[in-house]
């Protein structure tokens, strides 16, 4: 089971992203030391004011505050529609067919976090980039997923945080600013033991979802959604003036605005059953990975009749267009191949209209290269915006029973009709993913993550191993030991990871503070493949990302209690959260000892490692090192009366 199976609930809306953008800049924030960087001629007392000032870019498109487009972002994430809070369930498909009148249609879908205070609306989930500078390590920390309402709905605890998957810079073919053209998918799940079902008798769809989720070895429910066509400067009006550009935002900041400026992505997703053996945070069915770019003709009229004259159309000044990955499942009981094209076909021109890339054929290729076409050709109408949004990107390809054996035993591929360049999408024999995609590790600490390996959507039937290779933030293979952020240890010291019962383990310790990506290459036989010199070659690359937090153990060890004044703790620990994340001091004024002391109990709770996975953890950006954590803990332990006076 998975979102590819029935029942499926399609939901749609927007995702509003409210990250702080100051830490995105390597000239303002040092992601190795997790500290602000001094700016020429700017005192620390005027640092936040400087963040709000114009960067004086000579080009209108580049004009924005020094701290970029959201200095007061709080990292909140919320599903929205134009009408307000929550994405909406737009369609339901049960085993018996569409359920267009089910009470769950139009129901809310939302994820939420936790808060230290009562809140009239659920506290938001949080978007945290493990690597602040880069685009490949986004995470959503959240607590609860809510579908429907108390009358008919289900809520549950997230099984683990979400990670952006399948990052695709070519998702939108238009020239959208910042990361507007990028698309990613997210997946999350909630286990049966956390699910609370309400009013199952009120909704046949809910009843079907519950029955399927709790049947057999199924684990619960799973949500998968895509984020794409992100627009900035969309939602804020200040003093009657819509904030629609960097120039507007500079004006607002200079006139006292201290609010957020979220970006807004399109959201489209599917809710289904979390099947046995599936990961919570990553799709693990049969992966159709991008293979060769498809041709997009400059002659759109010709493209429209691609079916009839594909060669002619493709010959008309084509430009290469990469497709995003897809995930497929073969249901031999229904003789159907269901393909999830949620992240596959790009939109054009900054709009939501799909680019017309002609007709595609889903095929199964046997070992002897015999090709079996599966179902009807995938015409542009079948992946056009309306069809795509209505079905959440799902397309079913029905085949005759006579082809069942050939299709189930072959390698799946998607080819552009008329193209001789090769398959646009080609099934990857293996899928290598982990629910521990993002790791934070401290100086002196050793960690281990589990990596799951799937072969054609199931447990491996062949002996397979993984080659783990370390890459820097720029995607360059790290070849020198001195450049390694982490050192592989134990049984994984060589970088070759054994896979047992579909699971591999990577152990590592921090070699130096910084961020690295570990790519996994599956291989059979005894000779590992050669790791490519560059990573991030495909949206469906298999990798994990690790942030080795600053090495502050020596600072902690060399600081006696007699030096733990407020001035010390602010200057060494708290100032990052005061200066880089100005929204923090709107909530709690970190440069005021009286305020910090008053929340000593909460502070110690919030920075505790055992709350790390919670949305109550502080700092929510999770760059507090072990050494600085200890300093803060020791400072709180000295309260109320043993904190030394500030040096004079």
């Amino acid at each position: 089971m998975s979102v590819l199976n029935l029942p499926r609930l399609v939901f749609s809306g927007f995702t509003d992203w409210n990250p702080n953008t100051v830490n995105n800049s390597s000239t303002i924030y040092d992601e190795v030391t997790a500290e602000p960087l001094p700016q020429p001629g700017v005192t620390w007392d005027h640092f936040v004011a400087w963040l709000l000032q114009s960067n004086k870019s000579p080009t209108p498109g580049g004009l924005q505050p020094n701290g970029s487009w959201n200095v007061y972002g709080d990292h909140g994430v919320a599903f929205m529609t134009e009408a307000g809070n929550g994405a909406k369930i737009a369609g339901i498909t049960l085993a018996s067919g569409p359920a267009s009148t089910d009470p769950l249609i139009g129901g809310n879908v939302q994820i939420s976090g936790l808060s230290f205070s009562d809140s009239s609306t659920p506290p938001p989930a949080r978007l945290i980039d493990l690597e602040p500078y880069g685009p490949f390590s986004s995470q959503i920390f959240y607590e609860t997923v809510m579908i429907g309402n108390a009358t008919a709905g289900v809520t549950g605890r997230g099984a683990c945080r979400m990670f952006s998957r399948w990052p695709n810079f070519g998702r939108n073919l238009g020239n959208l600013p910042i990361a507007g053209g990028m698309g990613v998918i997210w997946q999350t799940a909630a286990s049966n033991n956390s699910l609370q079902w309400n009013g199952v008798d009120q909704s046949p769809a809910l009843a079907a979802l519950k029955a399927a989720a709790t049947a057999g070895g199924n684990q619960g429910i799973v949500l998968q959604f895509a984020s794409y066509r992100t627009l900035y400067y969309q939602t804020v009006t200040y003093q009657g003036r819509p904030i629609r550009s960097g120039g507007d935002l500079i004006w607002a900041y200079q006139n006292g605005y201290k609010g957020s400026n979220p970006a807004r992505s399109i959201l489209l997703g599917t809710i289904g059953v979390w099947g046995p053996g599936e990961l919570a945070s990553a799709p693990t069915q049969r992966l159709l990975a991008p293979n060769v770019s498809v041709a997009r003709s400059s002659n759109l009229k010709t493209m429209v009749r691609l079916d009839a004259h594909p060669e002619a159309a493709l010959a008309a000044a084509p430009t290469p267009v990469p497709l995003g990955p897809a995930m497929a499942i073969i249901d031999p009981s229904r003789d159907v191949v269901t393909v999830d094209f949620l992240a596959t076909f790009p939109e054009q021109g900054g709009s939501l209209a799909k680019a017309n890339l002609g007709t595609f054929l889903l095929q199964s290729v046997a070992a002897d290269q015999t090709v079996t076409q599966i179902g009807a050709p995938l015409t542009p109408q079948m992946y056009a915006q309306a069809t795509y949004e209505a079905a959440g990107g799902m397309v079913e390809f029905t085949f005759p029973a006579s082809q069942r054996k050939a299709i189930t035993s072959g390698v799946l591929q998607l080819v552009q009709q008329g193209s001789t360049a090769g398959a646009a999408l080609l099934e990857s024999t293996f899928v290598v993913e982990t629910d521990q995609r993002g790791s934070y590790i401290d100086e002196g600490e050793t960690k281990s993550i589990s990596i799951r390996v799937y072969q054609n959507g199931a447990a491996p039937t062949v002996a397979v191993k993984l080659l783990a290779s370390q890459y820097d933030s720029g995607g360059n293979l790290v070849t020198a030991a001195a450049d390694q952020i982490v050192t592989f240890t134990g049984a994984s010291a060589s970088g070759v990871l054994a896979v047992t019962s579909g699971v591999a383990h990577l152990s590592f310790r921090a070699a130096q503070p910084g961020i690295c990506y570990v790519f996994f290459l599956p291989f059979t036989g005894t000779v590992p493949p050669v790791a490519p010199a560059a990573g991030f070659g495909s949206p469906s690359d298999f990798f994990a990302v690790i942030r080795a937090l600053p090495f502050d153990n020596a600072l902690e060890a060399s600081t006696p209690d007699s030096e733990l004044s407020f001035a010390f703790i602010y200057g060494k620990v708290l100032n990052t959260y005061d200066l880089i994340y100005p929204v923090m001091s709107q909530i709690r004024n970190l440069h005021d000892k009286n305020v910090v002391d008053a929340m000593g109990e909460q502070l110690k709770f919030a920075i505790s490692k055992d709350t790390f996975a919670s949305t109550l953890y502080m700092p929510i950006t999770r760059e507090l090192s072990a050494g600085k954590r200890k300093l803060l803990q020791r400072y709180v332990n000295l309260l109320p009366d043993r904190v030394p006076a500030d040096p004079t």
Binding site: L114, F116, D118, S119, H591, E601, Q602, R629, N637, D641
Partner: protein, 394 residues
């Protein structure tokens, strides 16, 4: 409904030596001096018990230090004058800097010389100073009034509570640790009481939300700069916005809380859960009896005598004292966590006291409600969180 009728009947029929319908001091003293009567009433009619304790603790007091804590039998309820609880020991008298031993019960409450020079403003409390010792709630956040000023707090303990703290050497941290290590859990006598009033600064030049509707007092507050350095005393007239009254009439104490009726408009905090109808009905009757006094502007919010169950926890919040976590405020549950370790913590992550913040399962806001959690290796301080105010003896 049964309870509300019973309470109304009691106040309507009882004969008193003062304003008709109000309990006599004699009856109130009989109540607070009888463990059996206190236990019985607290359990059988907590609403009436709550109001009776309100009358007792807010009774005008004898102001001679030799009579700290004694009500003035010559006065009637509602007459101007220092209240009984205002003569109890301020936590600043009990928990001294450097953990020094506090002066005896009958020692007059010290007032800083700079404050003593400040002329008193006319107040209901008379010519005494209230030493305010807090401007944030247990969640670390301040509550604000409608003028944007912090709500401010003090804690006072009656003689029973104070004497046991002194007797057991619980007025400094090492003393608490030593007691926990050698004796285990602290047990206060059944006569122990404590109050936590909340106040707002009043501006007598401004209309609305001002002195006419509040019980007022002269107060002082230590102002500090952002580095935590003392910069001077703020003095002024304050109005009582809320009052926690805690008694150990029951083993897990009785948790009574009152508020000024205009808090919804005169402070920035809104009540999330309305006062239960049975209590509101009694409040209406009491306010009618108190119509000639400023106490007509106060209402009982609730009385907690148990924690409830995990599935149906009892919550009780004063908007002035538990402003931002009303949905997960359980006096009894939180105070059951009042504790201390049996040795000085040695690791940075260790705690001197068990945290009142719930880790598992994660909840929002992160405070325990329902049956109290296990204290583990910590020793109970018998629900008295004010023992956190003790300092280390250096």
């Amino acid at each position: 409904m049964q309870k509300q009728i019973a309470a109304a009947t009691f106040f309507a029929l009882a004969a008193f030596a003062q304003a008709p319908g109000l309990p006599s001091l004699k009856d109130l003293q009989a109540l607070v001096n009888s463990q059996q009567e206190s236990m019985t009433l607290a359990k059988s009619d907590p609403v009436k018990y709550g109001w009776d304790l309100f009358f007792y603790s807010n009774w005008p007091a004898l102001t001679d230090p030799k009579h700290r804590g004694d009500p003035d039998p010559a006065k009637q309820f509602g007459q101007p004058g220092t209240l009984v609880w205002e003569t109890w020991k301020n936590s600043s008298e009990t928990f001294l800097p450097n953990g020094l031993k506090p002066a005896g019960w009958t020692t007059a409450e010290p007032v800083p010389a700079e404050v003593a020079k400040v002329p008193f403003q006319p107040s209901d409390s008379g010519d005494v100073w209230q030493h305010l010792t807090g401007n944030s709630e247990v969640d670390g956040f301040p509550a604000k009034d409608s003028a944007g000023q912090d709500i401010v707090y003090e804690i006072r303990q009656n003689q029973s509570t104070f004497d046991l703290i002194v007797k057991r050497s619980l007025y400094y941290v090492q003393g608490q640790i030593a007691y926990a290590k050698s004796k285990g859990d602290v047990k206060f006598d059944w006569t122990a009481m404590e109050v936590k009033p909340s106040w707002r600064w009043l501006d007598t030049t401004m209309p609305g939300c001002q002195a006419q509707d509040y019980f007022t007092a002269n107060a002082y507050w230590a102002e500090k700069d952002p580095s935590g350095n003392f910069v001077g005393w703020k003095t002024g007239l304050v109005g009582l916005t809320g009052l926690h009254i805690l008694t150990k009439a029951l083993p897990r104490w009785v948790w009574i809380t009152f508020e000024q009726v205009n808090n919804g408009t005169c402070t920035e905090v809104k009540r999330l859960t309305p006062i239960p109808a049975n209590i509101a009905a009694v409040n209406t009757q009491m306010q009618a009896l108190l119509s000639a006094t400023k106490w007509k502007n106060y209402e009982l919010v609730g009385v907690q005598i148990d924690a409830g169950t995990a599935g149906n926890p009892v919550v009780l919040a004063n908007t002035q004292i538990e402003s931002a976590f009303q949905s997960r405020s359980s006096c009894l549950t939180c105070h059951a966590i009042a504790s201390v370790a049996t040795r000085k913590p040695t690791k940075p992550e260790d705690n001197l006291r068990m945290s009142f913040l719930q880790r598992q399962p994660p909840v929002s806001p992160p405070y325990y409600i329902g049956p109290p959690p296990s204290l583990g290796s910590f020793k109970s301080m018998d629900f008295v969180w004010s023992l956190r105010r003790a300092e280390w003896r250096k």
